[in-house]
């Protein structure tokens, strides 16, 4: 732990020294949060955590930069820190067409592969062909600043995108993960997926995206997804079909609960009228339920979400859900308003009445939040919140949050 703190302290020092000596651009923020609450057992708890993120690049050469996002948390014990390095990588855009990235980074190419301590190289090797290759180890799930041994979790992957005529594109990807379990001597494949996608756009208004991922280990498809959306000046309409088998990791919590494959249809629309915005989303999920595992009353779930927003004041929403997981009816309001220059008030209120299919007990969940934020010039942001909620476990759960953000950069 001390090692990590010392490392980041040294890095920051280096940052400020190098900025004065070697024409370096830097920007980022430093945030301190104190979160306090008292449980019904009258015990008091707190979280204190600090986050640091910055990007550092040479002046006049923004192709090279160092990026990081780092957090330290103290939970009810100032002597026990929990560190998390979410990303820390060096990015170098070599010439115009190639990019080299070394360090802790998030790997996403159609399917999320998680955060990796990896080396990735991507480049446009021909006019219409872009390739990317990744090799590395899995980041510890606690996001500690240390590397996992190669045999305890590694990733190899490649991705290719070929640009077709009329703004179309074809993608192919291959990713595999290996890991050694306690009973094995050597690491073995537990994730091997081949993916392909076809996507494009028509006159920047119609977007389409079709994707299929095939699991080579189970020899069955993992995901099939199709989406069509239309973007007009005021309208946005999209329709999406998604058929997915659970991505069961060796260490996934899906091992705890029964999770079925499902087919999902989502229809969503948004309409903007000056400063107002209306949204409606319909989500129908049909589960591929094996008779042995029928634990719920139905094999499909319907969810309807309606929202109304104002550019200046915030959003109001209504949620209606019925089916597989349970019944749910509720609303939420998230209001933000700058009533004085640099001073913003926040008000959040939600009420949900829900009934899980498994219990058949109607439960209420009510939440209320009031907060103030003050911004001093471009460098300091002070926020305070008082949160209160009641639910089936706690009749009154009250919490206080103080957040101080320091923005820096040259």
């Amino acid at each position: 732990m001390k090692k990590t703190i010392l490392f980041f302290a040294a890095l920051l020092t280096l940052l400020f020294i190098s900025s004065s000596l070697a024409q370096v651009n830097y920007s980022g923020w430093w945030q301190s949060n104190l979160y306090l609450w008292e449980n019904p057992d009258d015990a008091q708890y707190y979280n204190f955590y600090q986050g640091l993120q910055f990007r550092l690049s040479p002046q006049n050469y923004s192709n090279l930069y160092l990026n990081t996002y780092f957090r330290v948390a103290y939970r009810d014990d100032l002597d026990e820190m929990q560190e998390k390095v979410h990303n820390l990588y060096l990015n170098w855009n070599l010439a115009d067409n190639y990019r080299l990235r070394v360090g802790r980074q998030f790997i996403y190419q159609g399917v999320i592969n998680g955060t990796m301590d990896a080396v990735s190289l991507s480049g446009r090797f021909a006019k219409n062909l872009q390739l990317q290759a990744v090799i590395g180890t899995e980041a510890p799930f606690t996001r500690e600043f240390e590397l996992v041994d190669w045999d305890n979790g590694n990733l190899l992957g490649a991705y290719a995108s070929y640009r077709l005529p009329w703004s179309n594109s074809l993608e192919v990807s291959y990713f595999q993960k290996q890991r050694k379990s306690d009973s094995e001597e050597k690491s073995e494949l537990y994730w091997q997926q081949l993916g392909s996608a076809f996507l494009g756009t028509i006159q920047q208004k119609v977007n389409y995206y079709f994707r299929m991922d095939y699991n080579l280990l189970t020899e069955s498809y993992q995901t099939m997804r199709g989406r069509l959306s239309y973007l007009a000046n005021r309208w946005t309409v999209s329709a999406e079909y998604n058929s997915q088998r659970p991505r069961i990791y060796e260490d996934s919590f899906f091992n705890i609960f029964v999770v079925n494959p499902y087919n999902q249809l989502r229809l969503a629309g948004n309409y903007r009228m000056q400063k107002y915005e209306f949204g409606l989303q319909l989500l129908q999920t049909v589960y591929d339920v094996h008779a042995y595992y029928v634990l719920f009353k139905d094999d499909n779930d319907l969810r309807l979400v309606g929202t109304f927003g104002h550019q200046k004041f915030g959003t109001l929403g209504l949620v209606l859900q019925n089916g597989y997981g349970g019944d749910n009816l509720g609303y939420f309001a998230d209001i933000r308003y700058e009533f004085l220059p640099n001073i913003t008030a926040r008000l959040y209120n939600s009420y949900f009445n829900y009934e899980r299919t498994s219990t058949n007990i109607s439960e209420d969940a009510l939440a209320f939040l009031v907060g103030l934020g003050y911004r001093y010039k471009k460098v300091l942001l002070l926020e305070g919140e008082l949160q209160q909620s009641s639910n089936n476990l706690y009749k009154n759960d009250t919490r206080g949050l103080v957040k101080l953000t320091f923005l820096f950069g040259n």
Binding site: Q23, P58, R71, H86, Y249, F253, T307, S389, N391
Partner: protein, 291 residues
């Protein structure tokens, strides 16, 4: 492990040294001897006098550099012996290198309409006495201005928090790079919510700990996108005795067995996913499975 850390430290230290080296190495000299200061400050010329197309340009692909004819509207180009006024290499005079791939979606016209002045973005260019590459505004300048003036893309309406997923998936593709999220947002911006700790309940709404099972069942959100490890769930579920749905009445009956017997025979690994660490307590010390 220590060796791995050393490697990381070496890489990062190397990167910082590389910054210092490249900071100065990247400056190149241009063959042209053009002074913005002489034209804009001393002769009080507007930017549009030379960059005639700038105010009406709607694409970053447009060539907005003045050509020789623009210069010729003021200077006597016929006098060949005066080439040296602008060109340091009169034997082989060259034009300013064309700027390419710099924000294809950028509209000068839109910014002029919004009364943004040239030097709001091209700051201090009027004082430059030499032609240097990289007189273009840095991304930070765009972000600063758009952040200060709260100018967001049309798509970023009040409901965008609920709808941004579609854009994030489709616009990350190179074919729509001009609309890409990472034009303004770096990866850390996504990770703040999508891989944050939620220690202050910012990522999920208040009460989410008590209502998340409906989302998990209803599949509006894919929990596994962020929470891939069982340790994340087990800690809380074990503390609050929140158990799988099949752990109902009749699940475990002392001296008889109950429904858990057949479940365990069918899929013991499923039991192990929770009970691996406390199997001795839950199975043996309860008085049922005594060795």
């Amino acid at each position: 492990m220590k060796n791995h850390l050393k490697i990381i430290l070496l890489i990062i230290a190397g990167g910082v040294i590389l910054f210092s080296l490249t900071a100065n190495a990247s400056k190149e000299k241009s063959e042209l001897k053009f002074s913005h200061k002489k034209h804009v400050i001393e002769n009080e010329l507007d930017c549009a006098s030379c960059h005639t197309m700038a105010e009406s340009s709607e694409s970053g692909k447009d060539n907005l550099m003045p050509n020789m004819e623009s210069c010729g509207s003021c200077h006597d180009l016929e006098a060949t012996d005066k080439c040296g006024i602008c060109h340091s290499d009169t034997e082989n005079p060259r034009n300013v290198p064309r700027v390419e791939n710099f924000l294809p979606g950028f509209s000068h016209k839109l910014h002029f309409t919004a009364e943004v002045k040239c030097n709001d973005c091209h700051s201090r260019i009027e004082k430059k006495e030499v032609v240097e590459p990289y007189l273009l505004p840095a991304m930070e300048a765009c972000q600063q201005c758009h952040s200060d003036k709260k100018v967001k893309p049309n798509s970023h309406g009040p409901n965008y928090q609920h709808t941004h997923g579609d854009d994030a998936k489709s616009k990350s593709n190179p074919i729509t790079a001009s609309q890409s999220c990472n034009l303004c947002h770096s990866q850390r911006f996504c990770q703040y919510c999508h891989e944050g700790d939620n220690l202050d309940r910012v990522t999920h709404p208040l009460n989410y700990a008590f209502t998340h099972s409906l989302d998990a069942g209803g599949k509006e959100r894919e929990c596994a996108v962020c929470h891939t490890e069982r340790a994340f769930c087990i800690e809380c579920h074990a503390q609050n005795f929140v158990m799988p749905h099949n752990h109902v009445l009749g699940w475990a009956i002392p001296d008889v067995g109950g429904t858990h017997v057949s479940e365990a025979q069918n899929d013991l690994e499923s039991c192990m996913s929770c009970h691996e660490a406390n199997a001795e307590i839950s199975c043996q010390k309860s008085g049922c499975h005594i060795k």
